[in-house]
């Protein structure tokens, strides 16, 4: 590997490494298939675990009889929630939101009630996975089947069946008297909403309904656990946070975190869905029971039915506007599916729904609603895409009403430095307007629209990004290369984006840094990979550790030359004596002299940074609608995003393309299908339709760089923003193509065809409009 450095001038701002495009450090392992994923793990004398899952969406468990399963061939252990150790209820911080331990436990192994189809009830360990699966069929469970609650409107209705008889609504801080399926009612408010609407010339009030969707990572969940005779537990799994695996497992099993070593295996996609644990504590309990390692892997239907998708939602938006296009007030109500246990990302949706706009009077209400579906988890800017679908299509309507170009209208109302968001935060320097300007001047936006049933749509989106805690260790090798030990599992090319920041600081090449994601015993505490935080926050730890290394290297040079440390100056990788210009040594040479100057050199840094930079994106999309079939074909796509500073532009482009593609899937193909019994009818990749390469155009990207003042290189998180605008951009493009506003997701061919036929008055009799 060589040639990482594209030269100073190309990178701008005088950076050597930042902004160049070196080959990724984990690239060879990935393309040769040698990277080790959880399913590749082969421990000797390992048992295999399988889970018995509920065939009902909502039922009381009357009895469980595991005796026949236990007597089945090859079976070594069977566990249920009765085998959990006693524990007091508490809250565990997952990194991207807290989880209630009691819920986490009941989600892993049902306790008294099953709350969704696929809800785990029991687990079996056997000598091979097929015997384990066969044995799960011999577990006898008696149910009292209850009516499932499948839609937010039904869940919120008076007299709805209750998922949890002891759940009372926490409404703006007060508990409701009666139990309910609504766990929380939250509100953000600034200004005077009535005054704002009184000032408006026109008010737009619209309602939206979006389907539950899954992250669709290609690698199913897996975990292997070995509970050693000395009481130490080792867990290998596919996770976005090894320390979070440790914390969740320790909480669920009521053992000290320090007794667990969590080893993050290579990860085949997560997008937020691999933050909660599903298998790790079960594998651990089975291992404890049997004294052997236990390996568990999910099948695809288990991933769909029993892990954490992102919620469907019902959103109402009301926006008041002056004739000149200036928005006077905005009001929204967001009800999000939490799934079977509370904790939807509705609060995030509330923060993001009007985030791109400077509006004086804003009110946003949020409802966290339980339904008999899997407990939702984070998915790439969780909650923001639903919200943006609602607000950004109304913005498009307003632009048409005001006879303004949709980008013009957005510029007129755009949030800037100092704008106060609905949740009360005032923005630091942001780059929203710059994304609008980049789109406006882009060739795509200027290109004429040709052909019938073709349309163009624009939409913007925001994600706030996260900071959290990170630790790294940097060690210098005698040959002048550097080991970078970190705890941030790499789902987006962060090994390389971190190595590049270290190389920039130390004046060496990116290839001279060897980044490694290690287990929880081998690095300081590090929060999850989520909230688009790793290149930013772990990057700050890398910079701090790098500076310490540089300082120590300077001290070693001083020792070598027998001068005072203050006499040594550093430029890139060259260390010089200020007083004696004949004395100079490179980083590599100095590394070779470490033994003579005090031995090994290793520095550590742990950070918990503020100064997170939120990100904005604006997307343009062209579509063609087949008027006979309702099929929407995406013809062209351009995404502009304020990325702060692109450390490795190829990976930033990749993030934007990936986010846009997932958003396109969400917009026009994907969605959980449920029958009336609450059974998902498309729990496979054939019928849960994600876009294939043949459904997509090249996604063009525009990297807008407005540096984040909270990071020395200006880094903003980039991974989540790009999934926010696509649904609304597609909805606006479809409107442009066929003149019909679709306010339900997905806008699949069935829905588009129905809308077209309805418009023509040709909807067959008996078909619900």
């Amino acid at each position: 590997m060589s040639g990482s450095n594209n030269g100073n001038s190309q990178n701008g701002n005088g950076y050597r490494i930042i902004g160049s495009r070196p080959v990724r450090h984990d690239g060879v392992d990935k393309v040769t298939g040698r990277a080790l994923y959880g399913a590749d793990l082969r421990l000797s004398d390992c048992l295999h675990g399988k889970v018995l899952r509920s065939p009902h969406a909502h039922a009381r468990i009357l009895s469980i009889d595991t005796s026949e399963a236990l007597a089945s061939p090859g079976v070594k252990a069977v566990i249920t929630s009765a085998d959990y150790p006693e524990t007091e209820s508490k809250i565990i911080d997952l990194g991207e939101g807290p989880a209630i331990l009691k819920d986490l436990r009941a989600n892993l192994l049902a306790d008294g009630k099953v709350l969704y189809k696929g809800h785990p009830i029991a687990a079996v360990a056997a000598t091979d996975p097929f015997l384990a699966r066969e044995a799960t069929k011999k577990i006898k469970v008696e149910y009292e089947v209850l009516k499932p609650v499948l839609h937010i409107n039904d869940a919120m209705a008076e007299g709805s069946p209750l998922l949890h008889e002891d759940l009372h609504t926490d409404s703006l801080g007060k508990k409701s008297d009666k139990p309910s399926n609504v766990a929380k009612h939250l509100r953000f408010e600034i200004g005077d909403i009535d005054k704002g609407f009184a000032e408006a010339d026109e008010i737009f009030e619209r309602e939206f309904d979006t389907a539950m969707v899954h992250q669709g990572y290609i690698e199913p969940h897996n975990a292997t656990a070995l509970w050693n005779a000395d009481g130490h537990l080792t867990i290998w799994s596919s996770t976005q946070g090894a320390f979070s695996v440790r914390a969740q497992t320790a909480g669920i099993l009521n053992i000290p975190e320090s007794s667990i070593k969590a080893v993050p295996m290579e990860i085949g996609g997560g997008f937020g869905g691999k933050i909660p644990v599903y298998l790790e504590p079960i594998a651990a309990m089975l291992s404890k029971e049997t004294g052997k390692a236990v390996k568990m892997t999910m099948d695809r239907d288990e991933v769909f039915e029993s892990t954490g998708p992102t919620p469907g939602s019902v959103i109402k938006v009301k926006i008041g506007v002056k004739k000149n296009g200036k928005i006077t007030a905005a009001d929204a109500s967001l009800a999000y599916e939490a799934g079977a246990f509370q904790g939807s990302p509705v609060n995030c949706g509330m923060m993001c729904i009007f985030a791109p706009y400077d509006i004086e009077h804003v009110r946003v209400d949020g409802y966290d609603v339980l339904v008999n579906k899997p407990k939702t988890a984070a998915y790439r800017a969780p909650g923001a895409t639903n919200a943006s679908m609602a607000s950004e299509t109304v913005i498009d309507e307003i632009a048409r009403w005001a006879s303004l170009d949709p980008i013009e209208l957005r510029k007129l109302n755009a949030a800037k430095e100092g704008t106060v968001r609905a949740d009360g935060l005032a923005y630091p320097r942001i780059g929203y307007v710059e994304t609008l300007e980049a789109c406006e001047s882009h060739e795509h936006y200027k290109a004429p629209k040709e052909g019938s049933f073709r349309g163009r749509g624009v939409a913007s989106g925001f994600w706030f990004n996260c900071g959290f805690k990170s630790s790294v260790t940097v060690s210098v090798e005698k040959d002048g290369t550097v080991r970078l030990i970190e705890g941030s599992t790499d789902i987006g090319g962060t090994r390389t984006s971190l190595a590049m920041q270290l190389a920039e600081i130390l004046g060496i090449e990116a290839e001279d840094v060897r980044p490694m994601v290690v287990d929880t015993d081998s690095v300081g505490y590090t929060d999850i990979t989520g909230g688009s935080r790793v290149t930013f926050a772990t990057g700050l730890a890398v910079i701090e550790a790098g500076k310490k290394v540089q300082q120590e290297m300077a001290r070693r040079a001083a020792q070598l030359w027998e001068v005072d440390a203050s006499d040594v100056e550093v430029e890139l990788d060259v260390y010089r004596s200020k007083s004696d210009s004949s004395k100079s040594i490179t980083f590599k040479e100095l590394a070779g002299s470490l033994d003579e100057t005090g031995g090994a050199l290793s520095e550590q840094a742990s950070v918990s940074p503020q100064g997170v930079g939120g990100g904005f994106g604006t997307h343009i999309v062209d579509v063609e609608v087949d008027p006979d079939t309702g099929k929407v074909q995406v013809l062209r796509y351009t995404a502009a995003q304020d990325v702060g500073k692109a450390i490795h532009p190829s990976y930033v482009e990749g993030q934007i393309q990936g986010g846009a593609v997932q958003g396109i899937g969400w917009a026009i193909y994907e969605g959980y299908h449920y029958n009336e019994d609450g059974h998902m009818t498309n729990a496979n990749f054939l019928d849960y339709r994600m876009p294939t390469t043949l459904d997509l155009p090249m996604i063009d990207t525009i990297l807008v760089e407005v540096p984040n003042p909270g990071h020395p290189f200006g880094v903003r998180g980039v991974g989540e923003v790009p999934i926010v605008p696509p649904c609304a951009a597609l909805a606006n493009a479809i409107y442009d193509a066929i003149g019909i506003r679709l306010r339900e997701l997905p806008m699949n061919s069935t829905r588009v065809l129905k809308a077209l036929l309805k418009e023509k008055g040709a909807l067959p009799q008996g078909v619900e409009a």
């Binding site: 006979d628 193909y669 459904d695």
Partner: protein, 292 residues
């Protein structure tokens, strides 16, 4: 998946004997693109799998010297569409063979398997109906012929009785001024099962302006793929124009009797049966006219 015995006989009579093993459930295997998935994932159980890919009768693919072609039941899709001579004569079949699965699947999946799987949404069958294909069936007690439109009886069920296998497909020679096409509707551009499908064929008059005869087969709109005989009866002799195509669509819609499921709704499938009938008839006519 449970363990099963695997046999790969090299002559037809041995295969038929194995299939008729008393007290054992047997499943014939061609490309396995349905069978292996069903064994692994959908709980299908059998005692023995009989691989038919070593049998000359099932792997033959040849021209019968002006009397049409024979395609063995285990011949994979890619072998069919890569044969240029065949492709020039059977365009509807080529359409179907080219869109079943991806290239790896096409290297295994056979038309025989597609028929025997008897999915209402099978892509090959409406095209085979359009091309007036007959099925050659064999058992230990002899052979028989079945028209392709009569081969499937209900979802997953065919006319084959125990001990019988589908050996090959007989394709009549295509007349002059013949054209055919198959299309399906899927929400994506790949990786989907037909929400609806239609295969059409026409024989045009010498001036290319009149339809002398035509056949339309529909998929995914009834428990089995359908031949819409009424289109053949009512529209022969009509002009090649949009009014004729629209009439065909209307008749097709009236024969569509689909279900709603996770892949599509009943009214949508009825509507699409009309759209695809119209579109495939038009392409079939264009292809016939191009050959004038």
């Amino acid at each position: 998946m449970d363990a099963f015995d695997y046999f790969a006989p090299d002559n037809l009579s041995e295969a038929l004997t194995l299939l008729a093993t008393p007290n054992k459930t047997s499943r014939p295997l061609a490309g396995g693109t349905d069978l292996i998935v069903q064994l692994r994932e959908t709980g299908l159980k059998c005692d023995q799998v009989i691989d038919l890919k070593n049998l000359a009768e099932l792997t033959q693919f040849q021209s019968e010297g002006g009397k049409g072609w024979t395609i063995g039941a285990a011949v994979p899709c890619s072998e069919i569409y890569e044969n240029a001579e065949f492709a020039s004569q059977y365009p509807g079949i080529i359409d179907a063979a080219s869109l079943i699965g991806g290239i790896q699947i096409q290297n295994r999946a056979s038309f025989g398997g597609n028929l025997c799987n008897a999915s209402p949404a099978a892509d090959a069958i409406p095209a085979l109906i359009a091309h007036s294909v007959t099925c050659q069936v064999a058992s230990k007690s002899g052979t028989r012929e079945v028209n392709v439109e009569d081969f499937c009886q209900s979802p997953g069920k065919t006319v084959l009785s125990e001990g019988e296998i589908l050996v090959s497909l007989k394709l009549p020679a295509t007349p002059k001024r013949f054209g055919a096409a198959y299309q399906r509707f899927i929400p994506r551009n790949e990786m989907d099962i037909a929400v609806a499908g239609a295969g059409s064929s026409v024989v045009l008059s010498e001036d290319g302006k009149t339809i002398e005869s035509l056949r339309v087969g529909l998929g995914a709109v009834a428990p089995t793929p359908l031949l819409v005989q009424e289109i053949s009866d009512k529209l022969k002799g009509k002009e090649v124009d949009s009014a004729t195509f629209e009439q065909a669509a209307e008749i097709a819609r009236s024969y569509a009797n689909p279900i709603s499921d996770t892949r599509g709704e009943d009214w949508q499938r009825v509507h699409l049966a009309g759209v695809l009938t119209q579109r495939t008839l038009q392409i079939a006519c264009e292809r016939a006219q191009a050959a004038l």
